[in-house]
Symmetry: C2
Subunit: 346 residues, 2 copies
DNA sequence: TTTTTTTACGCAATCGTTCCCGGTAACGTT
DNA sequence: AACGTTACCGGGAACGATTGCGTAAAAAAA
């Protein structure tokens, strides 16, 4: 099936003008007489002329589109980020092309490759949990393609970064558990490769240290795919719960880690918070409907998306190569609900 | 910032050939000698040549991209559909551009307009709850742009449609409530404009009729934005619960209707299922973690996405205008959990 | 050896748009 | 009267790739 669009040539022919004149009239050039302009404009509106963005892209060597690399759009955190990105991008005339890695390094490479060959003008990236080799990113970066990291960044690449205050979020969550009387607080962490994992773990450890509590290495478990796969959470939780001194609280550092560890507790008959308290990093909007309702550290995902899109577009549209980059840290907020209720005396 | 890509001309110049020869060599044309082919191929690989898809789009008058119009990607149902679409589209070399209406007619028009001017080769549409005027769709359809409807379709447009068995899903859900002893079953329905709303309401009414139960008009409440806005659910629930003979069960016909009516019950101290049983159309993957766990009619969203993408791409790539269209109806499955437990005797 | 066929490549048009060059009037300035 | 300005507009190259057509050289057939 084919679908014919109106071009500048059609207007030129119909009006007995040249394409140059029509083009200039449409762009409101000073070299065109007001009458001709009006003529062209009226006719263009009448036949519903739309400039062909593909021809423009070819000519201007830019596509006015940005590529977004996230792990999963089904994850509230990322879908909120995307909403923020779109709100800015659309207002500035940019198209947003979303690509999901599902936490696979391989898919990240393939997708970025695909999008860069589709001539996106820049990337907004939250790297996959598996990614430890960054050459696919640095290659593009070195060829001059603007890149902004959101949430999960690559330290070694010098560009704009937008993150939540992971350290403080983790610190607050852990401190909250401590204040509520929990003594053996475990940390269910994301992939070790991620920047956010390190930052959150640091906040967790600092909170323990400030409360003069000992850090126990066996209370720290990592999940390579951020809890996306139930089995890895199951395994990690078993490691935690099969110890002699099992934890009485868990600080989970990702959305799926949190929900899947709740699933685990359901399956094993572990009562939250009586047997095990729980706080997680999560942007779920159903936390208060869960059983029990879930205490979370919530990141300002929408704003993170907005800020990162603004920074990216600013970089794309900059005339001179950008050399000064900023790292924006947005606050993360702790919401206290039932899952981390005060520890009951036995 | 600019980012120079290597073109076919660079290869031609470097190898002392014409661009035609290079092009043909890359496409493995028979008119190019094996030696020249090898030369070109080797060099192309060496300098990492990628054909410019924008130039191709301009020439071939197609973009190899499809536009997807959904209400919200944060909705599990739609994000699963999108995953299905992407799985097919990427394998066939198509790009997927996602656009959210947030149930706004205005945004639907703007977004479709934007995407069609960006030369998508076809649309996969699930109309917004507000949409009752379809001229923005029929205009494109009449100009020959392939369109496939997913889930929420427009009856009057003759094209491929992919839906779940809404009638049966609703019938099963209602019948299940009846069998569990509920006598006054209300239906919290989506926007009246939607095809799915009518189908589900029909299933609901048929189930009542088959059980020789009376249909009570005051037990049917519509929400124009599919429950996306809490206030409309609050209002509808108040209408239901402030009656003299208030319902003892609710069949909610959308994801957000279900979760927001649970919020309502929480807020009002209504115990589910003791005071009010609940079954909803939902593709949430957290239903078993809710309090109480939620009985749902689940649609095969991923498959719906796959099937619709296949139909769309088949239409796009068809040489002759397509005149035979199909409507694929996929089964919806009822999952029974706590929220619709057997009615307790008072 | 001559003619025909085949092989292997280049030229140029094309897609829709912009923009650098021009060019031509009409008018004003010496 | 001769030249410069200004206002308006058109021709055509360019962006990157494909492709119909033309053609030289080589190979095959006569």
């Amino acid at each position: 099936m084919k679908f014919e669009a109106v071009t500048i040539k059609d207007i030129a022919k119909a009006l007995g003008l040249s394409t140059s004149t029509v083009s200039r009239a449409l762009r409101d050039s000073y070299e065109i007489s007001p009458e001709t302009k009006q003529l062209v404009l009226d006719y263009a509106r009448q036949i519903n002329y739309r400039p062909n963005p593909i021809a423009l892209s070819l000519k201007e060597r830019r596509s006015r589109s940005i590529g977004v690399i996230v792990s999963e759009i089904a994850n509230s955190f990322f879908s909120q980020i995307i909403n923020g990105i779109e709100s800015i991008a659309y207002s500035k005339g940019y198209n947003v092309i979303i690509s999901q890695t599902r936490e696979s390094y391989e898919r990240e490479v393939i997708n970025m490759d695909f999008l860069s060959s589709r001539s996106v003008d820049g990337f907004l990236i939250s790297v996959s949990t598996e990614t430890k080799d960054f050459t696919h990113i640095t290659d593009l970066y070195e060829r001059g393609l603007p890149i902004v990291f959101v949430d999960r960044m690559v330290e070694s690449v010098d560009t704009h970064k937008v993150i939540a205050d992971n350290f403080k979020g983790a610190y607050d969550a852990t401190t909250h558990l401590i204040k509520n009387g929990y003594k053996r607080i475990a940390h269910l962490a994301n992939s070790e490769y991620l920047s956010i994992t390190k930052e959150r773990a640091a906040g967790y450890r600092q909170a323990l240290a400030d409360a003069k509590m000992e850090f126990n290495d066996s209370y720290l478990q990592h999940c390579l795919h951020g809890g996306m796969i139930y089995d890895e959470v199951d395994k990690a939780m078993n490691e935690l719960m099969n110890q002699k001194h099992k934890p009485d609280a868990i600080f989970a550092s990702a959305d799926k880690l949190t929900t899947n560890s709740m699933r685990y507790c359901r399956a094993k008959g572990i009562i939250i918070p009586d047997d095990l308290a729980m706080v997680g990093f999560s942007n779920l909007d159903l936390t208060e409907l869960l059983s029990p309702s879930l205490s979370v550290v919530r990141q300002p995902a929408f704003e993170m998306g907005q800020v990162s899109a603004e920074l990216l577009i600013k970089t794309i549209e900059s005339k001179r190569p950008v050399t000064e980059f900023e790292t924006r840290v947005l606050p993360a907020e702790l919401f206290i609900r039932e899952s981390s209720g005060k520890k009951k005396k036995k």
